[in-house]
C-alpha cells in the first residue's frame, strides 16, 4: 500500500473484508482498487472529473461521474457498509448535507480532510497575513478547489451539533499517525469514522 496516500492507507487498513462501500470523490480509483484486490470489497465510486472516471473504469472499477452535492440522493438508504469521503469534504458546497447523505446511504462513513488549523497555516496567516500555501494545501486562495476551510475542532463541533457518533479518529502528520492531543494544532490531516 506504499503508493496509497496515508489517509487512504489508513482507511484501507480499517475496512472490513468483503464490505460494500461507496467512495465519494474516488479520483482515479486508487483506494477502490486496493480495497477490491486486498479486502475483496464490493466498491463503487462517484467522481466529478471525467478523466479520473475514465481512468477508474479503465481499471475495471464501477465508477459513476457525478457530483457529491447533487447525486448522492439517488442512492437508496443503507445500501452500503461504508461511505468514504476522502479529501473531498472541503470542496463540497454543503459539507454538512453531504455527510448527512453519507450516513443515510451507509452504516458508517469515513471523512478525511486537511486540517486548516495546523500550526504552519496559523503562522502563515498570523505573521504573513496571507492565506497559507503549504505542502498539504499547495493551491492559492483563488485557484484552490477548497471552498470550505475546516479545522479538526470545527468538524468535531459539527459532529456534536448533529448528534453523529465518532467510531474512530486518526490524525496524520506527513505520512505518519500523530497524537490525538492538540490535534487541532499539530495534525495536518484528520480521518474520522462516523455513524449516525
Amino acid at each position: 500500500m506504499s503508493a496509497l496516500r496515508p489517509d487512504l492507507a489508513l482507511i484501507a487498513r480499517t475496512v472490513r473484508p468483503g464490505a460494500r462501500l461507496l467512495d465519494v470523490g474516488c479520483g482515479d480509483g486508487a483506494l477502490m482498487a486496493v480495497l477490491r484486490d486486498r479486502a475483496q470489497a464490493d466498491a463503487r465510486g462517484l467522481e466529478i472529473d471525467p478523466s479520473n472516471v475514465a481512468a477508474a473504469v479503465g481499471r475495471g472499477l464501477s465508477v459513476v461521474q457525478g457530483d457529491a452535492d447533487t447525486d448522492l440522493r439517488y442512492y437508496p438508504d443503507a445500501s452500503f457498509d461504508y461511505a468514504i469521503l476522502s479529501q473531498t469534504l472541503q470542496t463540497t458546497r454543503r459539507p454538512d448535507l453531504v455527510v448527512e447523505e453519507l450516513l443515510r446511504i451507509a452504516t458508517q462513513a469515513f471523512v478525511s480532510f486537511p486540517n486548516f488549523a495546523h500550526w504552519r497555516g496559523r503562522i502563515s496567516l498570523l505573521w504573513g497575513g496571507r492565506m497559507p500555501v503549504t505542502r498539504l494545501l499547495p493551491d492559492r486562495w483563488y485557484d484552490t478547489l477548497n471552498i470550505h476551510h475546516v479545522t479538526v475542532d470545527d468538524f468535531r463541533a459539527l459532529v456534536k451539533e448533529r448528534g453523529w457518533h465518532i467510531d474512530g479518529q486518526w490524525f496524520l502528520k506527513g505520512d505518519r499517525e500523530t497524537t490525538h492531543a492538540n490535534a487541532n494544532l499539530f495534525a495536518e490531516h484528520a480521518v474520522f469514522l462516523l455513524r449516525r
Binding site: R36, V57, R59, L61, Q65, G66, D71, Y74, P76, S79
Partner: protein
C-alpha cells in the same frame, strides 16, 4: 468438446444468414415467423462459452461491424472498437453482430419476401419495437448455441438494444455497454423521426410502400429523411469547424437555390449515398421502433424496476456535444441503476463530434470500454 463450434461449422463466420422457424411473439401482439437473420461472427467461442460479445447496430447500421461493407466497400462501421488489438478483439472474444429485424441487409423486414405470398411485405410487415429486435437476437443466440453473453454492446439505437437485453433476459447478460443512448425516446427524438417519415411518405414514388416491383423507389424522400437525421448526429461546433459558411466550388453566392454552401453539398451527398444502401420502408419501421422505445413505460413507469432482476454490470458513456441523446438521458439510467444497487459505471466524454462521436476516433472511449470488459474478468 462436441459442443464446441468447429471452424468448419457453417453457423459461424462472415456473411451468414439463417432462417429461424420462430415465430417470435412481438410487442404489438402479432407474431413473426419464419424469421431471417443476417449476421457475422468473428473469433472463436472458448470451451466454457464465456467470451461471447454481442454488438448491436444503430438505425442505419448493419451486421458488418468489423468487415468491409458489401455495397459501399467501406471498412466495418465500428472497426475502431471491434478488431485485432481493439477493446472487442476476435483474438479473445467470440463476437456476434446481426442485422436487426425490420432492416434491409438480409434480416426479415418490409423489403423481404412474405413466404405466404412470394411478394415483398411492404407495409404489411408488422410494426416492431426495440424489444422485438432483441427477441430476434436471442433466437439467433439459441441457434448459435450461446446461452449467456459476456457483454452486449451498442451505441445509439444499438445502446437501446443493449440496455433492453438485461430487462428481457436478465440471466443471459453479464455486462452491458450503452454508448450515446437513452432509456426512452424523447418528444424531440420522435419529432425528428416524424419529419423523416413524412418526407418518405410524401414522395409520390412511395405509393403506400409498394414500390418494389418497378424499382422506382422513393429515393428523394429517403434522402431528405437522411439529411434531416444527419444534422442531429453532428454538433453545431462540428459543422462550423468543418464547413462554416464556406461556399462550395464557387467564389460568390449564386442568388439561386443550387448548393451554394459546402454544408448543403455535404448533406445532399449524405442523402444521395444513403438511398443506394437503405430501404425507405425499413427507415419507417426502424424509426417507429425507436419512437415506441421507453423501458420504464414497459415496467410500470419505473426504470429501476426494469433492472431489478438482473445482476449485470453496466457501463454508460455519453458525449458532451451529443444533443440527440444528451448526457442527461444517460444520467437517468445511471440513477435508476444506482437506486437498484446495480454495478454501474458512467462517464461523459468530451468530443467535438456530437452524437457521431461514438463511431469516431476517441481513445478515451476505447480505454473505458476495454477496462470495463477486462474488469469483469478480474
Amino acid at each position: 468438446m462436441a459442443s464446441l463450434p468447429r471452424s468448419d461449422d457453417s453457423r459461424f463466420g462472415l456473411r451468414r444468414q439463417v432462417r429461424l422457424a420462430g415465430p417470435i411473439a412481438l410487442s404489438s401482439g402479432a407474431s413473426l415467423g419464419p424469421v431471417d437473420i443476417a449476421y457475422e461472427t468473428y473469433g472463436a467461442m472458448n470451451a466454457d462459452k464465456s467470451n461471447v460479445i454481442l454488438i448491436c447496430h444503430a438505425l442505419t447500421g448493419d451486421q458488418y461491424v468489423a468487415s468491409d461493407h458489401p455495397v459501399t466497400g467501406k471498412p466495418g462501421w465500428w472497426w475502431r472498437m471491434v478488431g485485432e488489438g481493439r477493446p472487442v478483439d476476435p483474438a479473445r472474444h467470440f463476437i456476434i453482430c446481426s442485422n436487426v429485424i425490420g432492416s434491409c441487409m438480409g434480416s426479415s423486414g418490409p423489403a423481404s419476401l412474405d413466404p405466404a405470398t412470394g411478394e415483398p411485405h411492404g407495409m404489411r410487415f408488422p410494426v416492431l419495437t426495440i424489444a422485438d429486435m432483441v427477441r430476434a437476437q436471442a433466437a439467433l443466440l439459441d441457434h448459435l448455441g450461446v446461452e449467456r453473453l459476456a457483454a452486449v454492446i451498442g451505441g445509439s439505437m444499438g445502446g437501446m438494444q443493449a440496455l433492453t437485453w438485461p430487462t428481457l433476459f436478465p440471466d443471459r447478460v453479464e455486462s452491458c455497454v450503452v454508448i450515446a443512448s437513452t432509456a426512452r425516446h424523447s418528444a424531440q427524438n420522435i419529432a425528428f423521426h416524424e419529419v423523416g417519415r413524412q418526407a418518405i411518405m410524401a414522395d409520390p414514388r412511395w405509393r403506400g410502400g409498394d414500390y418494389y416491383a418497378d424499382g422506382q423507389v422513393p429515393s428523394a424522400g429517403l434522402a431528405v429523411a437522411r439529411m434531416a437525421a444527419h444534422i442531429t448526429y453532428l454538433s453545431e461546433a462540428g459543422l462550423t469547424e468543418k464547413f462554416g459558411r464556406r461556399l462550395q466550388g464557387r467564389d460568390a453566392k449564386t442568388f439561386g437555390f443550387d448548393a451554394d454552401f459546402q454544408v448543403e453539398s455535404y448533406l445532399r451527398h449524405q442523402g444521395l449515398s444513403f438511398v443506394d444502401r437503405f430501404d425507405a420502408n425499413s427507415y419507417l419501421y426502424i424509426t417507429r421502433a425507436m419512437d415506441y422505445y421507453d423501458i420504464a413505460e414497459d415496467h410500470g413507469g419505473s426504470l429501476a424496476r426494469a433492472f431489478a432482476a438482473t445482476s449485470a454490470r453496466f457501463c454508460l458513456v455519453s458525449f458532451d456535444t451529443d444533443w440527440l441523446y444528451p448526457t442527461a438521458e444517460s444520467r437517468i439510467i445511471v440513477h435508476a441503476l444506482n437506486a437498484g444497487g446495480a454495478q454501474a459505471s458512467f462517464v461523459e466524454l468530451s468530443s467535438p463530434f456530437g452524437h457521431d462521436a461514438f463511431l469516431l476516433e476517441c481513445p478515451e472511449l476505447n480505454r473505458v470500454v476495454d477496462g470495463f470488459l477486462r474488469g469483469g474478468r478480474a
